[in-house]
Symmetry: D2
Subunit: 152 residues, 4 copies
């Protein structure tokens, strides 16, 4: 089981904002004609991968270096129902860095500015001992990694 380090209580980080564009599809809506809510978490996950790719930690590098960022917790508040073909942006930032873990917050904003949903993911920064599928060990988050996400 993954435990957050005490360092999580640190003050908030001045993070740059990564933008991940989405459009709600027919098959992501439910019989009420609005977004099926786990879709927001699929977007959060993709947005976090996109944010890391944006600073050089793209998927193929993560895989080659046996890096991973499994989840400890996730939450979302649903503010306004999204409908099919709505376009929105997921705006992601690092809220806090812990010793081996970090919190990403995500705002989902429709193209007309309406806030659809707001949530966060708590993730561990880890490395597979022997490649994907083998046990994962949390890694200390370096200042170099943090600096990649800092507002310039």
């Amino acid at each position: 089981m993954l435990i957050l380090s005490g360092a999580m209580a640190e003050q908030e980080f001045k993070s740059s904002v990564a933008v991940f564009p989405v459009q709600l599809q027919w098959g992501e809506c439910d019989p009420a004609g609005i977004i099926f809510y786990p879709t927001y978490f699929r977007w959060f996950d993709a947005a976090t991968w996109n944010m890391f790719a944006g600073v050089g930690y793209h998927a193929k590098r993560m895989r080659a270096e046996h890096l991973a960022m499994p989840l400890v917790a996730a939450d979302c508040q649903f503010k306004h129902p999204a409908e099919q073909q709505d376009r929105a942006e997921v705006r992601s930032r690092i809220q806090r860095w812990g010793g081996k873990s970090f919190v990403v917050t995500h705002d989902v904003v429709r193209e007309d500015g309406v806030l659809l949903a707001q949530g966060s993911e708590t993730r561990v920064w880890g490395r597979y001992e022997n490649g994907p599928g083998t046990p994962l060990k949390g890694q200390a988050i370096s200042d170099g990694l943090k600096a990649l996400f800092a507002i310039r």
Copy 2:
């Protein structure tokens, strides 16, 4: 936007527990070989529908009576990674009743007793004004509805 009533601060409800069996499939795992986390929220949603079906509010009745239970918030803590073909139970109960909303908690327990994940959903009890797809209005939750979920 949906607002929770102040009644949400009420004391916890002695709820019966509904059990929804799941088995993790190949396509619900990610390249790390473990569960892709939005899968837990898909299970939570299905487990809540199953819990309501168990007391008579099955899908066809919900649809015929224009009832719905959209989400206000959801969260999950991921305790232990699930792997392909793992069998588990989602154990769901009503944690609190508000005036027009309620909180369901879900424990996902693997067949050997290991707690995989733990989360909650906050939902509104509502009715479509003119059938699915039309605006939804929150409905006062009756004592009769609450009684269906009470421990007997």
Copy 3:
């Protein structure tokens, strides 16, 4: 049950090509690290909706006019495995028009030109008698509708 009209044997249609961009996400890959194949069908469905939106039949109009295009059949050949963060285009065209049905073909082409997958959907053009959720009746496909997709 839906039956294709004999008109399906008509000669092929000179269709314009609609382009729907996609990028493969972490959660759409399986433990082998490649695309989980139903993802291609999710893309086909979204690409067809996008193609119709492109000629004026966008989602909100389809809903307002009680139109739908349910599936009769779908197939796909998987040519080359897609990996996380691969970017591709789904290139869709109308292959044939029947009396009340039509066939859409989809080529999924990675940004470097590699054909990842190729498939088709056979759909009925229909209208809900009393709005979404009520019985659907196939509609004769007008020459006006066909003309919207013809090469100009």
Copy 4:
């Protein structure tokens, strides 16, 4: 790219039938209130894994022995719309064995006997050279493997 061997033209195989129970969930339905069609392919994939698990090739063994069964093609005919909470069985059998590939057919039958959908998957029997994520090589299908699925 994967090529089917000429042996695919062999006569059909007398296969045992594996049964995989499913129930359609809220989030697997679309705004028309019926099944979103890629769900059938998710069920097909899970049913094939279940069929192989049933004869001893369960997920953990497949993983430990670096075995995989990637797709060459898939198709489905949609016969009757499934609705939320409908229970059905996916009835799977081996239709044909090729040299390194095989065809599985799937019938989805609702609990009242109505055929909802019918489809097939063509798969290669392969082994990862160096574990999951490394290149896959097709393996000759042994008579021993075939015998596991034969009607007794």
